[in-house]
Protein backbone atom coordinates (compact mmCIF):
# COMPACT_ATOMS: atom_id res chain seq x y z
CA UNK A 1 0.00 0.00 0.00
CA UNK A 2 1.25 3.45 -0.94
CA UNK A 3 2.26 5.84 1.86
CA UNK A 4 0.63 9.27 1.58
CA UNK A 5 1.42 12.64 3.09
CA UNK A 6 -0.96 15.61 3.27
CA UNK A 7 0.19 16.95 -0.12
CA UNK A 8 -0.53 13.57 -1.77
CA UNK A 9 -3.98 13.54 -0.22
CA UNK A 10 -4.67 17.06 -1.47
CA UNK A 11 -3.53 15.99 -4.96
CA UNK A 12 -5.83 12.94 -4.93
CA UNK A 13 -8.76 15.12 -3.86
CA UNK A 14 -8.01 17.63 -6.63
CA UNK A 15 -7.63 14.97 -9.36
CA UNK A 16 -10.82 13.24 -8.22
CA UNK A 17 -12.58 16.56 -8.89
CA UNK A 18 -10.81 17.32 -12.17
CA UNK A 19 -8.72 14.57 -13.73
CA UNK A 20 -7.46 16.97 -16.41
CA UNK A 21 -5.87 19.46 -13.97
CA UNK A 22 -2.26 20.15 -14.97
CA UNK A 23 0.77 19.56 -12.76
CA UNK A 24 1.59 23.27 -13.10
CA UNK A 25 -1.80 24.48 -11.88
CA UNK A 26 -2.01 21.90 -9.06
CA UNK A 27 1.55 22.71 -8.01
CA UNK A 28 0.73 26.41 -7.77
CA UNK A 29 -2.25 25.66 -5.51
CA UNK A 30 -0.17 23.41 -3.26
CA UNK A 31 3.11 25.34 -3.26
CA UNK A 32 5.04 22.81 -5.34
CA UNK A 33 7.16 23.30 -8.44
CA UNK A 34 5.68 21.89 -11.65
CA UNK A 35 8.27 19.04 -11.86
CA UNK A 36 7.85 18.11 -8.18
CA UNK A 37 4.07 18.04 -8.59
CA UNK A 38 4.35 16.01 -11.81
CA UNK A 39 6.54 13.42 -10.02
CA UNK A 40 3.99 13.08 -7.23
CA UNK A 41 1.10 12.64 -9.67
CA UNK A 42 3.11 10.03 -11.60
CA UNK A 43 3.83 8.13 -8.38
CA UNK A 44 0.13 8.16 -7.41
CA UNK A 45 -1.00 7.00 -10.85
CA UNK A 46 1.62 4.23 -10.92
CA UNK A 47 0.45 3.01 -7.52
CA UNK A 48 -3.04 2.57 -9.04
CA UNK A 49 -4.70 5.22 -6.89
CA UNK A 50 -7.09 5.98 -9.77
CA UNK A 51 -8.88 3.06 -11.36
CA UNK A 52 -10.64 5.05 -14.05
CA UNK A 53 -11.61 8.45 -15.35
CA UNK A 54 -15.32 9.19 -15.38
CA UNK A 55 -17.06 11.69 -17.60
CA UNK A 56 -19.44 13.54 -15.32
CA UNK A 57 -22.52 14.58 -17.27
CA UNK A 58 -26.04 15.71 -16.50
CA UNK A 59 -27.84 12.49 -17.45
CA UNK A 60 -31.27 14.16 -17.35
CA UNK A 61 -30.13 16.88 -19.78
CA UNK A 62 -28.98 14.11 -22.12
CA UNK A 63 -32.46 12.61 -22.12
CA UNK A 64 -32.01 9.91 -19.47
CA UNK A 65 -34.42 10.96 -16.80
CA UNK A 66 -34.63 7.72 -14.86
CA UNK A 67 -31.96 5.78 -12.97
CA UNK A 68 -33.01 2.59 -11.22
CA UNK A 69 -31.01 0.37 -8.90
CA UNK A 70 -31.99 -3.26 -9.27
CA UNK A 71 -31.22 -5.96 -6.74
CA UNK A 72 -31.10 -9.29 -8.56
CA UNK A 73 -31.35 -12.66 -6.93
CA UNK A 74 -30.46 -15.62 -9.11
CA UNK A 75 -33.12 -18.31 -9.21
CA UNK A 76 -31.34 -21.62 -8.95
CA UNK A 77 -27.73 -21.25 -8.01
CA UNK A 78 -25.55 -24.06 -9.23
CA UNK A 79 -27.78 -24.55 -12.25
CA UNK A 80 -27.01 -21.24 -13.88
CA UNK A 81 -23.46 -20.19 -14.54
CA UNK A 82 -22.49 -16.88 -12.98
CA UNK A 83 -20.28 -16.19 -15.99
CA UNK A 84 -23.23 -16.55 -18.38
CA UNK A 85 -25.32 -14.18 -16.31
CA UNK A 86 -22.49 -11.66 -15.95
CA UNK A 87 -21.69 -11.70 -19.65
CA UNK A 88 -25.33 -11.26 -20.67
CA UNK A 89 -26.10 -8.51 -18.17
CA UNK A 90 -22.90 -6.59 -18.99
CA UNK A 91 -23.88 -6.52 -22.67
CA UNK A 92 -27.06 -4.51 -22.00
CA UNK A 93 -26.25 -0.88 -22.92
CA UNK A 94 -28.69 0.57 -20.35
CA UNK A 95 -26.94 -1.31 -17.53
CA UNK A 96 -24.17 0.99 -16.33
CA UNK A 97 -22.75 -0.94 -13.44
CA UNK A 98 -22.91 -4.54 -12.28
CA UNK A 99 -21.67 -5.42 -8.82
CA UNK A 100 -21.48 -8.90 -7.39
CA UNK A 101 -22.62 -8.62 -3.76
CA UNK A 102 -23.25 -10.80 -0.72
CA UNK A 103 -26.48 -10.42 1.19
CA UNK A 104 -30.15 -10.40 0.29
CA UNK A 105 -29.21 -10.10 -3.42
CA UNK A 106 -26.53 -11.58 -5.63
CA UNK A 107 -26.07 -8.64 -7.98
CA UNK A 108 -26.69 -4.95 -7.88
CA UNK A 109 -27.31 -3.17 -11.19
CA UNK A 110 -27.46 0.50 -12.04
CA UNK A 111 -29.82 0.96 -15.00
CA UNK A 112 -30.52 4.17 -16.94
CA UNK A 113 -33.60 4.80 -19.07
CA UNK A 114 -35.23 7.73 -20.83
CA UNK A 115 -38.39 7.53 -18.71
CA UNK A 116 -40.43 4.97 -16.80
CA UNK A 117 -42.01 3.34 -19.90
CA UNK A 118 -38.51 3.01 -21.36
CA UNK A 119 -37.34 1.45 -18.09
CA UNK A 120 -40.24 -1.01 -18.22
CA UNK A 121 -39.15 -2.00 -21.74
CA UNK A 122 -35.55 -2.61 -20.58
CA UNK A 123 -36.77 -4.52 -17.55
CA UNK A 124 -39.16 -6.79 -19.45
CA UNK A 125 -37.25 -7.37 -22.65
CA UNK A 126 -33.67 -7.36 -21.43
CA UNK A 127 -33.39 -8.00 -17.73
CA UNK A 128 -36.22 -10.42 -16.95
CA UNK A 129 -35.07 -12.55 -19.88
CA UNK A 130 -31.52 -12.93 -18.52
CA UNK A 131 -30.43 -16.50 -17.73
CA UNK A 132 -31.16 -17.47 -14.13
CA UNK A 133 -32.88 -14.29 -12.91
CA UNK A 134 -35.07 -14.88 -9.87
CA UNK A 135 -36.23 -12.13 -7.54
CA UNK A 136 -35.86 -8.49 -8.54
CA UNK A 137 -36.06 -5.45 -6.32
CA UNK A 138 -36.22 -2.05 -8.01
CA UNK A 139 -35.55 1.32 -6.41
CA UNK A 140 -35.85 4.50 -8.45
CA UNK A 141 -33.04 6.98 -7.78
CA UNK A 142 -34.26 10.38 -6.56
CA UNK A 143 -30.97 12.04 -5.62
CA UNK A 144 -27.33 11.17 -5.50
CA UNK A 145 -24.39 12.73 -3.75
CA UNK A 146 -20.77 11.65 -4.07
CA UNK A 147 -18.59 12.42 -1.07
CA UNK A 148 -14.80 12.99 -1.10
CA UNK A 149 -14.11 10.00 1.18
CA UNK A 150 -11.58 9.61 4.01
CA UNK A 151 -8.68 11.71 2.69
CA UNK A 152 -7.71 13.62 5.82
Amino acid sequence: MIALDDTDRALIRALAQDATASAGALGRDLGLSQPACWRRIKRLREAGVFRATRLDVDTAALGFGVTVFLGVKLATKGRVSLEDFERAVSAIPEVQTVEHVLGAYDYRLRVVARDLPDFERVLRRRIMTLPGVGNLDANVLLSEERRPGPLG
Binding site: M1, A16, R51, T53, Q96, V101, D137, N139, L141, G149
Partner: protein, 151 residues
Protein backbone atom coordinates in the same frame (compact mmCIF):
# COMPACT_ATOMS: atom_id res chain seq x y z
CA UNK B 1 -30.94 20.58 -27.74
CA UNK B 2 -28.14 18.20 -28.61
CA UNK B 3 -27.48 17.35 -32.21
CA UNK B 4 -25.84 14.26 -33.67
CA UNK B 5 -22.35 15.83 -33.50
CA UNK B 6 -22.72 16.53 -29.75
CA UNK B 7 -23.94 13.01 -29.18
CA UNK B 8 -21.07 11.53 -31.20
CA UNK B 9 -18.50 13.54 -29.25
CA UNK B 10 -20.01 12.54 -25.90
CA UNK B 11 -20.25 8.89 -26.94
CA UNK B 12 -16.53 8.77 -27.75
CA UNK B 13 -15.63 10.66 -24.58
CA UNK B 14 -17.64 8.25 -22.46
CA UNK B 15 -16.10 5.24 -24.13
CA UNK B 16 -12.56 6.52 -23.60
CA UNK B 17 -12.47 9.44 -21.16
CA UNK B 18 -8.65 9.53 -21.14
CA UNK B 19 -8.45 10.19 -24.88
CA UNK B 20 -6.64 13.46 -25.66
CA UNK B 21 -8.24 16.28 -27.66
CA UNK B 22 -6.63 15.54 -31.05
CA UNK B 23 -7.47 11.84 -31.02
CA UNK B 24 -10.98 12.60 -29.83
CA UNK B 25 -11.58 15.08 -32.67
CA UNK B 26 -10.38 12.47 -35.21
CA UNK B 27 -12.57 9.78 -33.70
CA UNK B 28 -15.65 11.98 -33.67
CA UNK B 29 -14.92 13.22 -37.20
CA UNK B 30 -14.72 16.93 -36.34
CA UNK B 31 -11.93 19.51 -36.44
CA UNK B 32 -10.08 20.44 -33.26
CA UNK B 33 -11.71 23.88 -33.22
CA UNK B 34 -15.21 22.45 -33.66
CA UNK B 35 -14.50 20.03 -30.82
CA UNK B 36 -13.30 22.84 -28.53
CA UNK B 37 -16.37 24.95 -29.38
CA UNK B 38 -18.78 22.08 -28.83
CA UNK B 39 -17.22 21.08 -25.51
CA UNK B 40 -17.34 24.68 -24.31
CA UNK B 41 -21.03 24.89 -25.24
CA UNK B 42 -21.83 21.61 -23.48
CA UNK B 43 -20.05 22.92 -20.38
CA UNK B 44 -21.80 26.28 -20.30
CA UNK B 45 -25.17 24.58 -20.76
CA UNK B 46 -24.42 22.36 -17.78
CA UNK B 47 -24.54 19.10 -19.73
CA UNK B 48 -20.86 18.34 -19.21
CA UNK B 49 -19.52 18.79 -15.69
CA UNK B 50 -15.99 17.50 -16.16
CA UNK B 51 -13.68 14.53 -15.98
CA UNK B 52 -13.32 12.98 -12.55
CA UNK B 53 -10.60 10.67 -11.31
CA UNK B 54 -12.21 7.57 -9.80
CA UNK B 55 -10.25 6.63 -6.69
CA UNK B 56 -9.39 2.97 -6.17
CA UNK B 57 -9.84 2.83 -2.41
CA UNK B 58 -8.29 -0.63 -2.28
CA UNK B 59 -5.00 0.87 -3.44
CA UNK B 60 -5.27 3.19 -0.42
CA UNK B 61 -5.81 0.32 1.99
CA UNK B 62 -9.62 0.17 2.13
CA UNK B 63 -10.41 -3.50 1.53
CA UNK B 64 -14.06 -3.57 2.56
CA UNK B 65 -16.93 -1.96 0.65
CA UNK B 66 -20.50 -2.22 1.89
CA UNK B 67 -23.78 -0.98 0.52
CA UNK B 68 -26.10 -0.09 3.39
CA UNK B 69 -29.78 0.04 2.47
CA UNK B 70 -31.67 2.07 5.01
CA UNK B 71 -35.37 2.43 5.69
CA UNK B 72 -36.16 5.57 7.66
CA UNK B 73 -38.79 6.25 10.26
CA UNK B 74 -41.06 8.42 8.11
CA UNK B 75 -43.26 9.45 11.02
CA UNK B 76 -40.40 11.90 11.68
CA UNK B 77 -40.96 14.76 9.23
CA UNK B 78 -37.26 15.69 9.15
CA UNK B 79 -36.00 12.11 8.93
CA UNK B 80 -34.42 12.42 5.46
CA UNK B 81 -32.70 15.77 6.07
CA UNK B 82 -31.34 14.84 9.48
CA UNK B 83 -30.20 11.39 8.43
CA UNK B 84 -28.39 12.72 5.35
CA UNK B 85 -26.77 15.61 7.23
CA UNK B 86 -25.44 13.17 9.84
CA UNK B 87 -24.25 10.67 7.19
CA UNK B 88 -22.21 13.44 5.54
CA UNK B 89 -20.20 13.72 8.76
CA UNK B 90 -18.87 10.16 8.38
CA UNK B 91 -15.75 10.35 6.16
CA UNK B 92 -15.98 6.68 5.14
CA UNK B 93 -19.37 7.30 3.46
CA UNK B 94 -18.62 7.65 -0.28
CA UNK B 95 -22.11 7.91 -1.74
CA UNK B 96 -25.52 8.96 -0.44
CA UNK B 97 -28.47 8.11 -2.65
CA UNK B 98 -32.17 8.56 -1.99
CA UNK B 99 -34.81 6.33 -3.58
CA UNK B 100 -38.42 5.81 -4.32
CA UNK B 101 -39.09 2.20 -3.42
CA UNK B 102 -38.57 -0.21 -0.57
CA UNK B 103 -35.28 1.43 0.32
CA UNK B 104 -35.22 5.11 1.34
CA UNK B 105 -31.51 5.83 1.44
CA UNK B 106 -28.45 3.93 0.43
CA UNK B 107 -24.96 4.60 1.74
CA UNK B 108 -21.83 3.31 0.12
CA UNK B 109 -19.30 2.80 2.91
CA UNK B 110 -15.65 1.74 2.88
CA UNK B 111 -13.48 0.39 5.69
CA UNK B 112 -9.88 -0.78 6.06
CA UNK B 113 -10.89 -4.28 7.15
CA UNK B 114 -13.76 -6.11 8.86
CA UNK B 115 -12.69 -4.98 12.34
CA UNK B 116 -12.71 -1.36 11.17
CA UNK B 117 -16.08 -1.90 9.50
CA UNK B 118 -17.55 -3.39 12.66
CA UNK B 119 -16.37 -0.38 14.65
CA UNK B 120 -17.74 2.07 12.05
CA UNK B 121 -21.03 0.21 11.88
CA UNK B 122 -21.54 0.25 15.64
CA UNK B 123 -20.19 3.68 16.48
CA UNK B 124 -20.97 5.84 13.46
CA UNK B 125 -23.61 4.18 11.25
CA UNK B 126 -26.14 2.50 13.56
CA UNK B 127 -26.12 5.73 15.55
CA UNK B 128 -27.37 7.79 12.56
CA UNK B 129 -30.79 9.31 13.31
CA UNK B 130 -34.25 7.93 12.37
CA UNK B 131 -33.21 4.46 11.12
CA UNK B 132 -36.19 2.07 11.06
CA UNK B 133 -34.40 -0.79 9.30
CA UNK B 134 -30.97 -1.38 7.83
CA UNK B 135 -29.65 -4.08 5.53
CA UNK B 136 -26.10 -4.60 4.29
CA UNK B 137 -24.83 -5.87 0.97
CA UNK B 138 -21.14 -6.75 1.01
CA UNK B 139 -19.36 -5.85 -2.19
CA UNK B 140 -17.56 -8.82 -3.77
CA UNK B 141 -16.57 -7.70 -7.27
CA UNK B 142 -17.17 -5.05 -9.87
CA UNK B 143 -18.33 -6.87 -13.02
CA UNK B 144 -19.11 -3.81 -15.13
CA UNK B 145 -18.32 -0.22 -14.34
CA UNK B 146 -18.91 2.11 -17.23
CA UNK B 147 -21.21 4.93 -16.47
CA UNK B 148 -21.67 5.55 -20.18
CA UNK B 149 -25.12 6.38 -21.55
CA UNK B 150 -26.60 4.57 -24.56
CA UNK B 151 -26.66 7.77 -26.65
Amino acid sequence: MLDDTDRRILRHMMAEPEMAGGALADRAGVTASTLARRLERLRTRGVLHGLRGVIDWRALGYEVEVSLRVTLDKTQPRAFDEFIAAAREVPEVLEIQTFLGQVDVRLSVIARDMAHYQQLYRDRLLTLPHIADIEALMHVARVKDREALPL
